[in-house]
Amino acid sequence: MIPELGHLALILALCLAVAQTGFGLVGPWRRQLIWMSVVRPAAVAQAGFVIFAFAALAYAFLTNDFSVQYVAQNSNTALPWPYRITAVWGAHEGSLLLWVTVLGIWTIAVARFSRHLPIELVSRVLGVLGLVSIGFLLFMLFTSDPFTRLLPPAEQGRDLNPILQDPAMALHPPMLYTGYVGFSVAFAFAVAALLGGRMDAAWARWSRPWTLVAWLFLTFGITLGSWWSYYELGWGGWWFWDPVENASFMPWLVGTALVHSLAVTEKRGAFKSWTALLAIAAFSLSLLGTFLVRSGVLISVHAFATDPKRGIFILGMIAAFVGASLTLYAWRSPTLPAGGGFKPFSRESLLLFNNIFLVVAAGAVLLGTLYPLVMDALNLGKLSVGPPYFKSVFIPIMLPFLILIGIGPYVRWKRGDAASTWRTTRVAAIAALLIAIVSIAIAGAAASVLLAVGIVLGSWAVLTALLEPWQRLRARRQGRHATLPRAVMGMSLAHLGAGLLVLGITVTSLLGVEEDRVMAPGSSATVAGYQFRFDGVHTVQGPNYQAEQGVFQVTHNGDAFATMRPEKRKFSTTVTTEAAIDPGLFRDLYVAMGNPLDNNAWSVRLQYKPMVRFIWLGGVFMMLGGILAASDRRYRRVAPQVALDTGAVQPVEPGTDTVMENRE
């Protein structure tokens, strides 16, 4: 009964989404206030039904209702109950329901927090979001119904893929989807503004916090995924340049560009059409990711079971949404006013370069990801584009970008003063060089040019990010007037995170040690000064698996250091490698067991991974920066309606000090 109600809820949601879209888009056009006033309740009700459907599926999982085919395929009575909930999004149909549910939650949030916005704009934004809902609800109802019954019901479920039975993995898809789907809000704002023909600073100000929130969730989702693959897949890698990872990375790069470009549009009224294009692109790339993962056109280790029908459906959605919005863009943008002028050395100009590097980087990732498909489609043979390619094109593009990260915040809008920027930042430059010199000396024989460059740029980003808050706090302590708004703190924190990320990637890639050994019980191996003694293997019983657990005693400089217990877990159908990790801020030790060999010996991979935690720490700092920036009080202030009518740039509001305007 409950599954049928879930299915019914999806159908009702679809009907309401049609109303939401119809009234939302036609209302403002016909200037029908009553139509527009229907949009908000329709949107909220639509989202409510979707959330109900989600709850219905979760209920089927919790009660082990194996008469629902999707539950029977992805759950099991032995599965611990938290994983029965996360199993809801463990495969294609349910993850699609999660997608629509997340879209519903965003829709409710937009409906709730948009009371101060003009009704035409809110109608259009919700109308566009409703259109996206229609697309995905149709997709689900026609090709991927999660509520399909299985008759007769299965006695027992097939179990959730064991590698997904993990806390980080449970959280990874919801975070990632919140990010992806969140870009649909930025997209909706851009399309609404293009439809209304009014793209102004107010539009940028309204879409900025939404974009920031979407971006921070995507950042967190990617970080979680990276961390998960590090400890769960067993070989200690944290990024593989797999097509599916690239599919999440491209919207992130473009979303990052969008966050910066919105700043220019808000502050200076410039780059309007470019910002709108980025908003469309970020969401389009999210859709593209969905297509790549669910259609089977590319080879990936993390692919869903695929079905060409689904591929065609998603392709149709991309053609409709993206095609329509880009056509609208091509039609409306040429008439937009250009916005203010600026000098070659100015905040605007540097942010433009920031955008260029980010977008070109995203383009490079797209090119590398799709090139095998292009070759195949043109009958030019098959080839593989893997990590070596991405590393060699991505790094050179990112190096100048990292220099800009440090300079940008210290350059004034309109016309910057290179001398004063240099005076402010030279401390950081000199300190970064010193840090690099010391690091090279410590690294000794392992040092390389890339290591030096990576450390200089990483430290530069970290130090320049700390410079501004430090200066402001010092000024305040000296009794001068200075504020530290959350937007500035958020930016500093995010840039700090970027710096930590660069340091982590540089050090762990270039100074990490990885050794494969054959170890018999009682034998020892030394990796990077840590001695690992293998004490043999014993059997451990888990809730739904049986594990062979190895015991390694680690000593460092003769002192007992840690006991590490990697496992090989045998689930009903699969075997997974559970690596043992001794975590530390500055280094991880990583032990994974391969295969059993003769005489109780095992093949073992021992790794020393210096500063690998900085990678995820960087991601977390970026996310926290996003939270701070999105919660800045400016966004909660009611914007004067007049700005919309004149199309003029938002005037500086009373009580806002110039330092903040300048340095935000």
Binding site: I163, H302, F342, G381, G386, P388, I397, R517, V652
Partner: protein, 144 residues
């Protein structure tokens, strides 16, 4: 986006293996430089059975055979180029994770830098225009 089925093997489902990590039982090369060269090499080849994994990471039987071949060739003193040629001769460019620079891959290798050049050119034009705009207008804008 999804890291769902890390299921080794696509359509052919032929060489299925059970463990989730490839570690070899062969002793490492006594010389660390040679070992490093071997490690580097096996990270460049794609396991054809398990989709999108290097032969270093894949636990398919075939990947183990490839590693053994590479190991033997390194031991026999073959150069990296010779080893790559050996693999390409049998499996085509598909096996290389770093595609060779050929006529049909120049766009792949040159593309990103071409994009960058075009983008920088476009930005230069925009900046020049905006810069003269500032000179010609007395309006000093809204931000002081």
């Amino acid at each position: 986006m999804k890291r769902l089925a890390i299921v080794c093997c696509g359509l052919l489902a032929a060489v299925v293996s059970s463990s989730a990590l490839a570690i070899d039982s062969e002793p490492p090369f006594p010389d660390p430089a040679t070992q490093a060269r071997y490690e580097h090499l096996i990270h460049q080849f794609r396991c054809l059975v398990c989709q999108d994994e290097t032969i270093a990471d894949s636990n398919a039987d075939l990947a183990a055979d490839f590693r053994r071949q590479v190991h033997n060739m390194v031991a026999a003193g073959k150069s990296d180029a010779e080893i790559r040629a050996y693999m390409v001769k049998r499996y085509g460019d598909f096996i290389l994770y770093k595609p060779p620079v050929l006529e049909r891959t120049w766009l792949l290798w040159g593309g990103p830098f071409l994009f960058l050049a075009i983008a920088i050119g476009a930005v230069a034009i925009v900046i020049r225009r905006r810069s003269t705009m500032l000179d010609s207008s007395a309006d000093d804008g809204e931000v002081q």
